[in-house]
Structure formats: C-alpha cells, structure tokens
C-alpha cells in the first residue's frame, strides 16, 4: 500500500520553544493509527505541524507524495487551505466551532472544496447517520449546543470533505466517558475505503483493539509502535 503521509526529520515549535524533535512517521493508505501519549508531549503540535498551523518547522512532510512541509517563512495558517484542498481533514483539539452558525451551515463550511460543495447534502446526511443526535439539531446555533454535541459538530465538519487523511485530535477530551466512547465508536464506523485516520488520544483504552497500530509520543519524540493490533 502507498503511504498517504510521510514525515521525515520533522522539528517544530512555537517561538523559542522546540516541541517536536526529529520525528519520522508514516501512515499507509486506509490505515487507522492511534497516537497516544500524555498531555503536553506534542501530539497536538504534530497535527498542527501537518496542517501548517505551528509557528515554525523544518523537515519534510509529504501528503500523497507532495511536499507540504519545509521551512516556512509565511505565518501559520497561510498554507492550510491549500493542504486541506490537497486531501487533509483535521478536527482540532478543543473544537473548531463557529458559534453563530447553525449545525447545517457549520457542516457546509467543512464541505468547502468545490467537489465536496456539490455533494454537501448527501454528506450532511452521512454525518447525521454517524452522529444521530445532530439530525434534530440541524437548525440550532452551534454556540448553544452541549460539549458533546459540539464535539460531534467539530468532528462532523472534518468528515464533510472527501479527504485521504483525517487527523482527529483528542475526540474524548472533556467529555463524559459514555459520550466519548460513542464519538470514538462513530469514528470507527466510517467506511475504510482508502481513507487513513490518525486519532490522538490520551485514553489508550478507548482505542485499544480498534486501531491497526498505536504510536506513543513522549517529550516530542515518537516511541515507535506501542502495540500492533490488527483488525483484519
């Protein structure tokens, strides 16, 4: 299988702070990877580096063979829309929420790329199938939803686009155990045809047995495979 994501010697941080140290990491097509590790050890920074949202970074990041990393003289966020169009979908930690939009408008924002925009109705239905509680909240303002519902909207927004690589950052953060289990469950109910998912999670128990492999992160370095658990 071809690799969707290839990272070579990635170092990244914010201002004088170096968070990631010389990381190499590959994700194959259709693979489900759990990225585990304690808070503050760089999981979120790795995701943000891939999405071009960190302050600075060096090293190589390749998405579907195309270089998206490299030294960045431009500010954070400038390259992000291009990377999203190239096939990345990310649900950031603490939710990307537009409080003044309705759930339906919010999901439409996720289907921003021209191809996805045409299909947005069908994909909205798909997200509602994955997260059934959202269906009856279609026209509610996102700012008024509960934490669990917001998380579903945030993750659902990332699922609106036909991406090849999905990065989901801490889907269980701040949620009651039962709700976080259902969010994770919904993520794994996605059809696996060619789309790779990387889920960053502190709670290893939520992922174990459901991902193809787990990678540990400690003090800005990857700790190889934590366990090779295959579903197939």
């Amino acid at each position: 299988m071809a690799d969707v994501l290839e990272i070579e010697g990635l170092t990244a941080g914010y201002g004088p702070l170096r968070v990631l140290h010389d990381i190499s990491f590959r994700v194959a097509e259709g693979e489900r990877v759990g990225l585990v590790g304690l808070n503050g050890h760089g999981k979120t920074t790795l995701f943000r580096a891939i999405s071009a949202l960190v302050g600075w970074q060096s090293g190589s990041i390749r998405l579907l063979g195309a270089e998206i990393g490299g030294a960045r003289s431009t500010g954070p966020g400038r390259k992000t829309p291009g990377i999203v169009r190239a096939g990345l979908a990310m649900a950031p930690q603490g939710d990307a929420i537009f409080p003044g939009l309705t759930v339906a408008q919010h999901l439409d924002c996720g289907a921003y790329t021209p191809l996805a925009w045409k299909e947005r109705k069908r994909r909205r239905e798909m997200v509602f199938d994955i997260f059934p509680p959202l269906r009856k909240l279609e026209h509610a303002l996102v700012g008024r939803l509960s934490g669990g519902e917001r998380r579903m909207v945030s993750v659902g927004r990332a699922l609106m686009v036909e991406a090849r690589l999905y990065l989901i950052d801490e889907p269980s953060l701040g949620l009651a155990p039962k709700i976080s289990a259902s969010v994770i469950e919904a993520l794994f109910s996605l059809p696996q045809d060619g789309r790779a998912i990387v889920i960053a999670e502190q709670n290893v128990a939520l992922l174990s047995g459901r991902v193809d492999r787990m990678v540990g992160m400690h003090a800005g370095r990857l700790r190889g495979d934590v366990g090779h658990v295959s579903l197939h």
């Binding site: 949202l53 400038r78 992000t80 999203v84 990310m90 990307a96 929420i97 409080p99 921003y112």
Partner: protein, 309 residues
C-alpha cells in the same frame, strides 16, 4: 425644540454613521484589520462621484432636461460611481495594506500604520489634484420637504434613511444566504476553523475590503447631500465610524447598528438643546462613549452576539 425634526435628523445621521461603522466592524472581525484609510475611501468616492456628475451634467440636461428622470439618472450615476470608487479604494487597501503583511506577526498594528499612511497620502493627493476648494454634489433626492403624520422631513433625509436601510438589508442578507457570506462569517467567528475548512484568508479578504469600501463610498454620497466634498471630508466620518464601532464592540455588526442609532440621536438631541447647541455635539458624544467604555470595556457587543476579542 421640535421633537420630530430632531428624530428625523438623528435617524439620518445614524444611517450614515452606521454605514461607516459597519464597514470598520466587518473588516476587523473578518480579517483583523483596523482600516484607518476608510476615511480616504470616503473622500475618494466623493470626488469620483463629483467628477462623474460634472462630466455627465450637460449630457443628462440635454437628454432629460430638468425632469425627475434626469434627477434619477444623476442619482444612479453618483451612487454607482461612489460605490465603485469606494470598492476600488478597498481593493487598493487590500493590495497595499493586507496582502504583503497579513501573515506577519502583529498584523493588526502593522496594518493600522499602513492604512493610516495610506489615508494621509490619499488626502494629500486629493488636495494636490483637486485643490482645497470644496465641491458640491448634485442633489440626488431633489430638494423639498414632505410632511407625513405631522413629521416633516427633507427629501435628502428620507432618501438617506431609506437607502441605508436598503443597502444594509441587502448586505446582511448576502452575508446570511450566500456562500461567500458563509465564508466571511466563518472567518469572523473562528479564523483557525475557517482555514481548516479550506477557506483562504487571502481570497476572502478581497471581497470584504471591496464591500466595506463600497459602503464608505455610499456613505460619502449620502452625507454629501448635506455637506461638501473636500480632501479632508473623510476624517470626521472615519472618527465617528471608528468610535461607533468601538462603542458597539469592535467586530459586532448588531453592536455597530445600535451604536450608530444611539450616537445619531445623541448628536441630534444635543444639537437641538438650546443652551448646548452644535458646539457641544462632539464633546457630548465622546463623553458618552468614554463613559460607556469605562463601564463596559468591550462595548455594547457581546450583549448582542459573539464577536472577535
């Protein structure tokens, strides 16, 4: 003082200030830029409309004579030229004050300085090109008075109020229903979430700067029904628009509307009180804004909606 006259005067002032303040507020909330060149867009639009109306005057006089059709054609021409010139100034601001620096650190401060410089330069260019003499725009709503339900109002006041309601209504509707509007609102509410959705700041900023420039242009035409066009005529509307945007909570569109209405009426009332009069209008409004900002540093916004902090 005559209450109804004050009421109409206040509402027409509120309309013009609202157009300016909403432009400033929209720009801040969507791309994080405080546009000090908004006054320059205002003045340039006034001059462009003046030049167009001067050029077209003999033509329209020959075609329509002194009829309503002639006034209407002139109104369309001046409003259209004003909006277009404002939009072009918006595009210029985008090219000079946004594109080169928008992803550098401290963009709000940098853009403030660049737009302030643009403002000063534009005023000097206008002064050099057109000279210091004030210009008079054609009366696009005609001259005269009308009395409805015992309230008497001048044509230009009614026209200003009606035009502003129409323009703002259209802008807010566009923001609500169009795809570009969804894009802009997403960017206003969560810039990082917007880029993660694939929305490019660089491409969203251009329509926003052009739209707000056009709003400033329309405000210039409407205000020039009562004052003259001059190189520095943009300064006062800029200051008013900025303070109203601050009062409304920078970035909040409903806040800017409410702020414009409050300040418009406050000015009309202070101007109409015999022992205060026009001299105390600025003093009174700024005192009011200072008191509000001391009590509520974030302005009126946040009471009404969630705005960029």
């Amino acid at each position: 003082m005559d209450l109804s006259v004050t009421l109409v005067h206040g509402l027409s002032l509120a309309a013009i200030y609202g157009l300016m303040a909403i432009g400033i507020s929209l720009l801040w909330s969507s791309i994080g830029m405080i546009n000090m060149a908004h006054g320059a867009s205002f003045a340039v639009a006034g001059y462009a409309a003046w030049a167009a109306s001067e050029a077209a005057k003999p033509l329209f006089l020959a075609a329509f004579g002194k009829t309503i059709a002639g006034t209407a054609a002139m109104a369309g021409l001046t409003l259209g030229t004003g909006a277009l010139a404002g939009a072009m100034m918006g595009a210029l601001i985008y090219l000079l004050a946004f594109l080169p620096i928008h992803d550098k650190p401290n963009f709000p401060v940098r853009s403030l300085i660049v737009t302030l410089a643009l403002n000063l330069a534009t005023v000097q260019v206008l002064l050099w090109w057109f000279g210091p003499r004030q210009k008079n725009l054609p009366k696009i709503f005609g001259t005269g008075k009308v009395e409805v339900l015992g309230i008497s109002a001048r044509y230009d006041q009614i026209g200003t109020i009606a035009a502003t309601f129409l323009i703002l209504g259209l802008v807010l509707l566009w923001l609500r229903v169009s795809r570009k509007g969804l894009e802009i609102r997403a960017m206003m509410q969560n810039p990082e979430g917007a880029v993660l959705s694939g929305i490019s700041v660089r491409w969203t900023a251009l329509p926003v700067t052009m739209l707000t420039g056009a709003l400033a242009g329309l405000a210039a035409i409407l205000l020039s029904q009562t004052i003259f066009v001059s190189p520095t005529s943009g300064a006062m509307p800029l200051i008013k628009g900025l303070t109203i945007a601050l009062l409304g909570g920078l970035g909040s569109v409903p806040g800017a509307v409410l702020g414009a209405i409050i300040i418009g009426f406050l000015e009309a009332v202070i101007g109409a009180i015999p022992f205060l009069g026009q001299r105390y209008v600025l003093f009174g409004t700024f005192l009011f804004i200072i008191v509000v900002l001391i009590l509520r540093p974030r302005g009126l916004g946040g009471l009404l909606d969630e705005a960029r902090k």
